[in-house]
């Protein structure tokens, strides 16, 4: 599947999609990630045909589907609110796409049974959506999409209406289902953890543009710019201004090794994840130092916010080794985990 130069401008001049290019491999699990209002849902709806683009094209397989009606594109969509028809039973809901495709009644019932059994909905067929739990509703919506054997699945934040624990289960379930069926899947989410956990590749979007495309590992380890760096990660990345000076970079009272490709005196932004910034109780070389201002417990570790000469840096300590508030501590960046961005445009240097 591919989109080329896709642009969507809403009346009133809001540009939701700005000349997007994207290609998604066959059978790939692809996540569109971004803050709300970044255009990810618009992109998904344009792929589905529910919005028509003002420019560019959408191809699915060998076909250019830009001008086709949603129903002719051979895609299935799962909506954020699941859009289960409240007046139909689970069975009727799952079989609805087949009814539209004029399959005989017996075939419809048979396929619905099959898919329902596969998704663990066996006993729920005569119920109505209002009689199901959120997790069950979500699986019925998935079953309905699976039942029509599309060439692409489009998921619009299907996990966001579930509570936190159920979300983790559903996440695993969706990933397993996608692996089993090997159908190309586009998954929209604003939850970076969800995207990292599920996707083969992630596109991080902001203001109608794609800021980075890559595997979860790429996007997590080497965010291409400060926007992605800030957005990805369950604890916010430390982004600190610094300046190139002689053989190093001066940042918040410490000196870090200087990468190639930077001019002397150039302002930069340093990015270090708290997980790669262990908190030490005694002084070492190349460390930041400051006073502990807040300690937040994360379970197996704690996030320690340290006031380093006016900059707040987050570091991590293993559970049980939390420093006292106000204590002087040292933060030593792990070698190879320090990212340097040009301050001017926020792009990654090293």
């Amino acid at each position: 599947m591919a989109v080329e130069g896709l642009t969507k401008e809403f009346p009133g001049g809001v540009r939701a999609l700005d000349a997007l290019d994207l290609s998604i491999a066959d059978g790939e699990f692809f996540a569109l990630l971004g803050p709300s209002g970044c255009g990810k849902t618009t992109l998904l709806r344009t792929i589905a045909g529910l919005e028509s683009p003002t420019g560019g094209s959408v191809r699915i397989g060998e076909r250019d589907v830009t001008a086709l009606a949603p129903g002719a594109r051979d895609v299935a969509m799962v909506f954020q609110d699941y859009a289960l028809f409240p007046h139909m039973t689970v069975q009727e809901n799952i079989a609805y796409p087949l009814k539209i495709k004029r399959q005989p009644r017996a075939e419809r019932a048979h396929r619905a049974e099959d898919v329902a059994a596969q998704l663990g909905l066996g006993g729920l067929m005569p119920r109505r959506p209002a009689e199901l739990s959120g997790g069950q509703q979500q699986r019925v919506a998935l079953a309905r999409a699976v039942a029509c054997h599309p060439s692409v699945f489009l998921f619009d934040e299907p996990l966001s209406n579930l509570d936190a624990r159920l979300r983790l289960e559903a996440r695993t379930f969706i990933k397993r289902l996608q692996r089993q069926l090997a159908v190309t899947t586009v998954f929209v989410t604003h939850d970076q953890a969800e995207a990292l956990a599920l996707a083969d590749r992630i596109a991080v979007m902001d203001a109608g543009r794609i800021r980075q495309v890559g595997t979860p590992r790429d996007v997590f380890r080497r965010p291409a710019n400060t926007f992605v760096a800030n957005f990805i990660g369950s604890t916010p990345m430390n982004l600190v201004p610094g300046e190139v000076r002689g053989t190093g970079i001066a940042v918040a009272g410490a000196t870090l090794p200087r990468p190639d490709g930077l001019a002397d005196g150039e302002p930069v932004t340093i990015g270090i994840r708290p997980e790669y910034l262990p908190v030490l109780a005694d002084e070492q070389d190349g460390t930041f130092t400051g006073e502990v201002s807040i300690v937040e417990h994360l379970g197996t570790s704690s996030l320690v916010t340290v006031d380093v000469g006016g900059e707040l840096l987050g570091g991590v300590v293993p559970e049980g080794e939390e420093p006292d508030q106000g204590a002087r501590v040292w933060l030593r960046p792990m070698p190879g985990r320090v990212l340097v961005y040009r301050a001017e445009d926020g792009t990654l240097v090293a």
């Binding site: 589905a48 045909g49 529910l50 009606a69 949603p70 129903g71 002719a72 895609v75 299935a76 969509m77 909506f79 954020q80 609110d81 859009a83 289960l84 028809f85 409240p86 007046h87 609805y96 796409p97 539209i100 495709k101 959506p129 209002a130 029509c148 489009l154």
Partner: protein, 275 residues
């Protein structure tokens, strides 16, 4: 002290409720007791001499049975036009963005409620006269539908607004045509709203007097609401026995319909899908 105040408060509450209930109950009691009374009066009491004479008289009245039939015809005709028209209009108004849509709806509603049927009667009469629909039940149906549509569209649009668009979009992605979407999804989901509109329309038409009174001149075409006006004795005083009997028969269909629709769909004058 407090207890005494609570008791007095409780007693006063019940007295107020009792008076309010009586205010509404007395006419209804009169309506169910008087038809069976051989000597009808304005007082409410158990029939002094039980009789079914009033019912046989009405049955043999040349116009009474057919007037109920006329009422049914007018009601059914108007319901069909109002429900179909309002459903299509409300769906379009709810889903398609046109500039000034809300203003248009409010103006329609305002005009239709401010300019009552009475005020518009002369122009309406002239219009129907020009159309050659005087003394035709179809003409009455058109005028009544015209009067009821704005409020029906307004009520129904609110209802359809509350149906998530994702239902229709979901059906569209599966390849359903607009007509299939309407039949399979929108109408079934909006059914309580449609039932509400239908019942409300029937009740309105059933009780309407002025429009059929003015537009229908033949007695055999007049609905029950107009015919009841003719039950006078030779002396010129109202024939209470016949009026009460006819009124009772005339109310029963509406009450039954109301109960049926209520048990089947429940009434909701607002949108909202239970999900």
């Amino acid at each position: 002290m407090n207890l005494a105040r609570a008791v007095v408060g409780r007693i006063l509450t019940y007295v107020v409720f009792g008076l309010a209930t009586a205010f509404f109950a007395v006419p209804l009691l009169w309506l169910v007791s008087t038809p069976f009374d051989a000597n009808p009066g304005y007082a409410v009491h158990w029939p002094s001499t039980f009789t079914l004479h009033n019912f046989t008289t009405l049955w043999h009245n040349p116009y009474a049975p057919s007037s109920i039939e006329n009422s049914v015809l007018l009601a059914v005709g108007t319901v069909v036009i109002v429900v179909v028209g309002a459903a299509l209009a409300a769906y379009a108004l709810s889903r398609i963005r046109i500039p000034g849509r809300d203003a248009l709806l409010y103006v329609l509603l305002l005009l239709s409620s401010v300019i009552t049927g009475t005020a518009a009667m002369v122009p309406t009469f002239l219009l129907i006269f020009q159309l050659g629909l005087i003394d035709s039940r179809f003409g009455v149906v058109l005028v009544l539908s015209g009067g009821l549509l704005p409020a029906a569209i307004f009520l129904l649009k609110d209802f359809i607004d509350a149906i998530p668009r994702s239902y229709e979009e979901s059906a569209r992605v599966f390849g359903a045509s607009p007509l299939q979407i309407l039949r399979h999804v929108v109408v079934p989901v909006a059914r309580p709203g449609l039932a509400t509109i239908a019942v409300w329309t029937v009740v309105q038409v059933w009780g309407t007097f002025l429009t059929p009174f003015i537009l229908l001149s033949s007695t055999d075409k007049q609905p029950a609401s107009v015919l009841v006006n003719t039950f006078y004795t030779e002396g010129g005083s109202p024939n209470l026995g016949l009026i009460s009997t006819f009124s009772l028969l005339y109310s029963i269909p509406v009450v039954l319909m109301y109960l049926f629709a209520w048990s089947r769909y429940g009434f909701r004058f607002h949108g909202g899908i239970k999900s």
